[in-house]
């Protein structure tokens, strides 16, 4: 352990030290949805590989994804995808130097929340058999 490691660090954002704020909750949710989407790629790979193995396997993958658990996972995946997409676009605007004012960041944050929810329900209404 070098001396550098004993320097004080600011505490982690989640815990008793900081009041939870809308912007910080959205920030950690971006990471959480990102990690969840990485896990979700397993579903995508499963679907594609079973399709590549032939018609019988494809049909069984469709049954698994169409089951209650499959549909629940796909529903959550849809929301995580739209959230990460919308908030990712919000991040790209920040990268370009726009939207840093507190009022703007809060407003764009609510846009992310509501657009992700509305797009998710819209998709599932369209996809309903």
């Amino acid at each position: 352990m070098s001396a550098a490691n004993k320097r004080p660090l600011s505490p982690f954002m989640i815990g008793p030290y900081y009041k939870p704020q809308m912007t910080s909750i959205l920030s950690i949710t971006h990471r959480a949805t990102g990690a969840a989407l990485v896990a979700g790629t397993l579903l995508l790979v499963y679907w594609l590989v079973w399709a590549a193995r032939g018609p019988g396997f494809y049909e069984s993958a469709q049954l698994v994804l169409g089951s209650m658990l499959g549909q629940l996972l796909l529903f959550l995946w849809t929301w995580a995808l739209f959230y990460h997409l919308a908030n990712g676009i919000r991040h790209l605007f920040w990268d370009a130097g726009y939207g840093f004012e507190l009022e703007q960041a809060t407003k764009s944050g609510w846009w992310v929340v509501w657009s992700s929810i509305i797009l998710t329900f819209l998709c599932w209404l369209i996809a309903a058999p």
Binding site: R31, G34, A35, L37, V38, T41, L42, L44, V45, L48, V49, A51, A52, G54, P55, Y58, E59, T78, L81, L85, G88, I89, H91, L92, D95, C123, I126, A127, P129
Partner: protein, 126 residues
């Protein structure tokens, strides 16, 4: 006054030795993924109830197969860059971080390769 050498300053690569390379590629893949993801979700809506023949027919279009392959490569690259940042922020000690990073990047690379080959196999006739 700076303690950085003139050479380090002119290279502009910082302590991580690769400057903004990681940051930039994360943005490049993010921008590519915006239209590709929207296309993929809209496509899924139209083929979610398709049987194998309809699905194979859909993917046999070379433009769709090419977009799928690009989507998969960009997704797994973006995923790898994103997981790296998460590990660098939260995983200690250093050895565990490196191990987690190596395993994750290897798995994501293999998943990317498998999924692209699966797409090609279906696209070229199932």
């Amino acid at each position: 006054m700076s303690i950085r050498t003139p050479l380090a300053r002119v290279r502009g690569l910082g302590a991580a030795k690769d400057g903004t390379h990681h940051w930039w590629l994360q943005r490049v893949t993010a921008v590519i993924l915006i239209p590709l993801t929207l296309w993929f979700v809209i496509s899924l809506l139209s083929i979610s109830h398709a049987d194998y023949a309809a699905f194979q027919q859909w993917l046999s279009n070379p433009i769709r197969a090419g977009l799928m392959a690009t989507l998969l490569v960009a997704t797994f690259y973006h995923a790898s860059l994103g997981m790296q940042v998460i590990y660098e922020d939260y995983v200690r000690p250093e050895g565990a971080k490196v191990a987690a990073l190596l395993v994750t990047q290897f798995v994501l690379f293999v998943l990317g390769a498998i999924s692209v080959i699966a797409v090609l196999k279906v696209a070229l006739g199932g």
